[in-house]
Amino acid sequence: MEILRSGLLQRALLEVLILGATCGALGVWLLHVRSTYAAESLAHAMLPGLVIAALVGAPLLLGAAGGVLVAAGLIALAARDTRVGAEVAVGVVVTTAFGLGAVLALAPDVPARLGELLFGDLLGTSTADLAAAAGLGLLVAFALGAGHRSLTTAVFDPVAAPSLGVQPGRVQLALLALLGVAVVAAVQGLGNLLVLALIVAPASAGIRLGATLRGQIAAAATLGALAGLLGLVASAELDIAAGASVALAAIALHVVAVLLRPAAPRTPGERRSPVDALSP
């Protein structure tokens, strides 16, 4: 493994292994509660925070955290209106935040780092970035372990959960908070457009491959880390963008999982109109 000799790549590799495992495990829960759109939105909507951090020279992590907090607050606020529905509300917030971030970034006299913020700079991982990712990753892993039973109950049976001592609303909120943490950790390496790949692809594959919840989480974490490794090697060998290469590796692994384990056919009798099949 020639590429592992350089400190640059070693740091990038460690970072992407941590991120892959963390996002994979978290992604299984997010997919089970059907929160892909929330995951995408939160990642996209923190762009203004990132741009402001880049402009004033603050650590990206700080900007990401601020951006995620504001975005989450706005999404929660907008989703309270029942007329437009959560999905559309999320769409409005994301679009606006994204536009604002681009306005700030593309205004003249600004260092043109937008591409880096959008698509990540895995090879620019510093030791401090690595330590932050490791800390945040551990936090997510610990929280998932500690909350495993509450999560299971709240996702499986939200109606009866309160009588079993679990408040589904609080669990959902905690899960979104963890998503925020994971996105903040991953944005440096993968950029705010590609974070979603590490959250969705390994998890979706893990859910295919694992029969039990623990099996699914283990498979997703493994596949996430594997995607990181493969993506980074491919990026170094083929000389292509690292973040995008990791994202494509994660998606390629998902394709392999689908080929290995084709889905059981949907139960007959359930037919939905073409549009309803696409809306969440």
Binding site: H32, A146, G147, R149, S150, T152, T153, V155, F156, D157, V159, A160, P162, S163, L164, G165, V166, I207, G210, A211, T212, L213, G215, Q216
Partner: protein, 249 residues
């Protein structure tokens, strides 16, 4: 089982916006009684259950329940694609008494296996919940309530969409629970079946009647519960309440 009881006095309850969904409910059920809760959709059965579970604040009146009630939901409300086994679901009954940093106690694991055995599903402990039949799923949810070991059980339409084998098994286990001195509240649409329980509670936005089935289930009470839209069909020996749904679209 210590003596379980439930006493509801002058309760009204409703949802956030101040609208009252159910009013004037007063009844008392003691040790070993099974109460059928009858009423049309939107008549207040769910509201009553949620109030009894403490999820809905009461506007007036008081509720006295021994312990926290266990709730057995309708099975199609749970996630069938979720990768949990029958045993996993039964074990959920022990979650409330297990601290987050501890493993589930061996005693509770034994309890969960025992509960699955009681509902006749010992062999299916490792089977994925979603791949069980509707009746088997209902029995797993009852096993979970057994693990909770509550004195009061609230069952939401436990016989809806259930095959014959499961219906008999559920009936048997409910009888055992009564014999153990637990109090059962069973929400149902089946008037004829309600005649088989100890008490009937008829709800239609408010309490219409409460008492032993023989004296309570009169035509006047049923009309008061289901309104003029009720059609009584005498198919064999089963009288079934059929509602006309208002077509609003």
């Amino acid at each position: 089982m210590s003596a379980a009881a439930i006493e509801v006095a002058g309760v009204s309850a409703g949802y956030g916006n101040g609208a009252i969904a159910l009013s004037d409910v007063s009844f008392k059920a003691t040790e070993g009684q099974a109460v059928a809760v009858l009423g049309p959709n939107g008549g207040g059965k769910t509201t009553l259950f949620r109030a009894l579970l403490g999820e809905l604040p009461t506007a007036t009146g008081s509720i006295t329940v021994s312990g926290t009630p266990a709730y057995v939901p309708q099975t199609e409300r749970s996630r069938l694609d979720f990768p949990v086994s029958a045993l996993d679901v039964a074990l959920m009954g022990a979650y409330a008494r297990t601290s987050w940093y501890r493993r589930i106690a061996g005693r509770d694991r034994a309890l969960a296996r025992g509960a699955l055995e009681r509902v006749g599903l010992a062999d299916s402990a490792g089977t994925r919940f979603g791949s069980l039949s509707g009746g088997q799923r209902q029995r797993v949810l009852i096993a979970r309530a057994l693990v909770q070991d509550a004195g009061v059980l609230l069952l939401d339409e436990p016989f809806a969409g259930v095959d014959r084998t499961s219906e008999d098994a559920i009936m048997g286990i409910l009888d055992e629970l009564r014999a153990e001195g637990r109090v059962l509240l069973i929400a149902t649409h089946d008037v004829e079946q309600a005649r088989g329980w100890d008490r009937v509670l008829c709800l239609a936005g408010k309490q219409i009647a409460y008492g032993p089935p023989a004296t309570t289930l009169t035509n006047a009470v049923l009309e008061g519960t289901y309104g003029e839209e009720i059609v009584m069909l005498d198919c064999g020996h089963r009288a079934v309440a059929i509602q006309h749904h208002a077509h609003t679209h």
